[in-house]
């Protein structure tokens, strides 16, 4: 029987190696948007925050912590994706839009 955390460690290892390989191929031109995009993706913490905040019998402490965490994570998600898109819109080849 494989423990859950053991399974998790395999996932972690493979995802990290995949991350390295993918990021290596990213053009230095796009390093800033890459950083804001990957930051927006790691705001997946939003999932944990929803679970805490929405729980039926949460104590006052966990509800407050979850609520604040959810606001923070949502800011991270929304700002992260929007700024990435705003930056990428500016990258154009010559005379693309004229």
């Amino acid at each position: 029987m494989v423990h859950n955390y053991e399974f998790g460690l395999y996932v972690f290892m493979l995802a990290a190696l995949l991350g390295f390989e993918l990021v290596k191929r990213v053009s230095p031109l796009l390093h800033t948007p890459l950083m804001s995009l990957s930051n927006a993706i790691s705001a997946i913490a939003v999932v944990g925050a929803i679970l805490l905040t929405g729980e039926k019998d949460a104590t006052r402490l966990t509800r407050i912590l979850g609520f604040v965490a959810l606001i923070a994570a949502t800011i991270n998600v929304v700002a992260g994706y929007l700024i990435t898109d705003r930056m990428l819109k500016m990258f154009r080849k010559r005379e693309d839009e004229k």
């Binding site: 995802a15 995009l37 790691s42 705001a43 939003v46 979850g66």
Partner: protein
């Protein structure tokens, strides 16, 4: 619904992986953002539909508040403030991880492996929060950008970190005194401040990339605590991306992590006023314009000074005029130019300069000897030929742009003050170098005006 959830999370994870993959080229990058957004939307909707989520009013209120703050932040910040916004964004994400870890601790009081992961999550979460806030302060210039140092600093910082790890170790082995978790929290927050305060402004590219990485690892650690694979995948993708970027930054300066984090680099301003001023040749905008006009190839080297002066739009005017007259104008971008990885590219793209004219160091360095004019705008250490010399210096061995090999070098600069590394730049004293003293924006505007007047 709960049986469908693993599939929804799996698709979300696939979306995140494709998002990073499609970032490899400007042509597919926006598709990457869309697939990443879909992944996030699926993850959020899937989570909202889980049977244990019932108190919707709180969840929806928090989502609404977060969006109401996040959207204007992304749209109203000027492009020059992207490094600040990124630092702030890291702080929010890391704070979320840390608070969730804290709540999980008080809810389940875990031990063993789960507590180990939880310690990692909260340690990295809290330290990334305060470290990112300090980085934000330095980038926004609310805090001094020079390193803040005192004697025995590294010893104090590392002691604080060690103490946090010891307390975490005690909690992992099952000790549960009520003072432990709050102490651990305070130590983690404190370490974040101590870590970034002594780091200078121009080392921010490495620091931001590292904080990006640690925010990701905090999210991955949360995945272990909550036993959620999607969190592990998304967090480790981000962790790997940030780490790789910071390695690239360190290599581009020929320095180690230890040197960036604990070297308090750039604090000594040597030889600033002591030595007698050496003679340099300077030129007026008219002279600069006529040299550019008669050139057939020009390479522009932007640096942080261009961002500070907001000179990118005026540079675009010069670029347009010269390109129309058949001059081959290109840009040479050093990996650490600016305050975050890729900073110069974003600013030049904002000014509507086509991205195929923005070349990285390895692509363009061999072209300098055949180039008529190298125009340096607000860059310094990245064109200092001293880096090639075996002589011991703070920038020894750092890969540089070979601007000094061009037929003529022009440098737009406010004064003769040294750059971040605190050393003099030989390139200013060469016979073929012309110093263009003035504000980058104002000077470039004058050049553009002269160029238009001559035809």
């Amino acid at each position: 619904m709960d049986t469908l959830l693993p599939i929804i999370y799996l698709i979300a994870a696939l979306g995140f992986i494709l998002a990073i993959k499609w970032m490899n080229h400007p042509a597919t990058a926006r598709r990457g953002v869309i697939i990443g957004e879909i992944g996030m939307l699926l993850a959020v909707i899937g989570t909202l539909l889980r049977s244990e989520v019932v108190e919707y009013q709180w969840v929806l209120l928090a989502l609404a508040i977060g969006s109401a703050i996040g959207a204007p932040l992304a749209y109203l910040m000027p492009m020059t403030s992207v490094p600040q916004l990124t630092a702030l964004s890291h702080a929010f994400g890391a704070l979320a991880s840390a608070l969730i870890g804290t709540a999980e601790f008080y809810k389940n009081s875990p031990t063993g492996f789960t507590m180990g992961a939880l310690s990692m999550e909260t340690l990295l979460g809290f330290l990334t929060t305060t470290a990112s806030i300090i980085a934000f302060g330095k980038l926004q210039e609310i805090l001094p950008t020079r390193p803040l140092t005192y004697k025995g600093q590294n010893f104090v910082s590392l002691t604080v970190l060690a103490a946090a790890i010891v307390v975490a170790g005690m909690m992992v082995t099952g000790q549960t005194a009520p003072w432990m978790f709050p102490t651990f929290t305070v130590l983690s927050l404190l370490f974040g401040i101590l870590l970034v305060a002594p780091i200078g402004g121009a080392d921010m590219p490495t620091v931001i990339a590292l904080l990006n990485s640690s925010a990701g690892v905090a999210a991955a650690a949360m995945g272990f605590v909550l036993d959620n694979r999607l969190l592990i995948i998304a967090g480790s993708l981000n962790g790997a991306a940030g780490l790789l970027l910071s390695i690239i930054m360190c290599k581009a300066m020929n320095r180690s992590f230890t040197n960036v984090l604990f070297g308090a680099f750039g604090q000594v301003q040597t030889g600033g006023g002591g030595a007698a001023p050496r003679p340099v040749r300077s030129a007026t905008p008219e002279e600069a314009a006529s040299i550019l006009d008669s050139a057939s190839s020009v390479i522009i080297i932007p640096g942080y000074g261009m961002a500070v002066a907001q000179a990118q739009h005026k540079i675009r005017e010069v670029f347009d005029i010269l390109s129309k007259r058949g001059v081959n104008v290109r840009f040479a971008i050093h990996p650490v130019a600016g305050r975050m990885p890729g900073h110069m590219n974003v600013l030049l793209a904002e000014a509507d300069i086509p991205y195929d004219k923005l070349l990285e160091m390895d692509e363009i360095n061999q072209d300098f000897p055949m180039t008529d004019v190298a125009l340096v705008v607000g860059a310094n250490d990245v064109v200092n030929p001293l880096a090639r010399s075996p002589q011991d210096s703070p920038i020894q061995g750092m890969p540089i742009l070979d601007a000094d090999k061009a037929r003529t070098v022009m440098v737009i600069k406010r004064s003769m003050n040294p750059g971040f590394a605190g050393i003099d730049n030989e390139i200013y004293y060469m016979d073929k170098t012309l110093m263009l003293f003035g504000d980058a924006k104002g000077f470039t505007a004058s050049i553009a005006k002269e160029l238009t007047a001559t035809h």
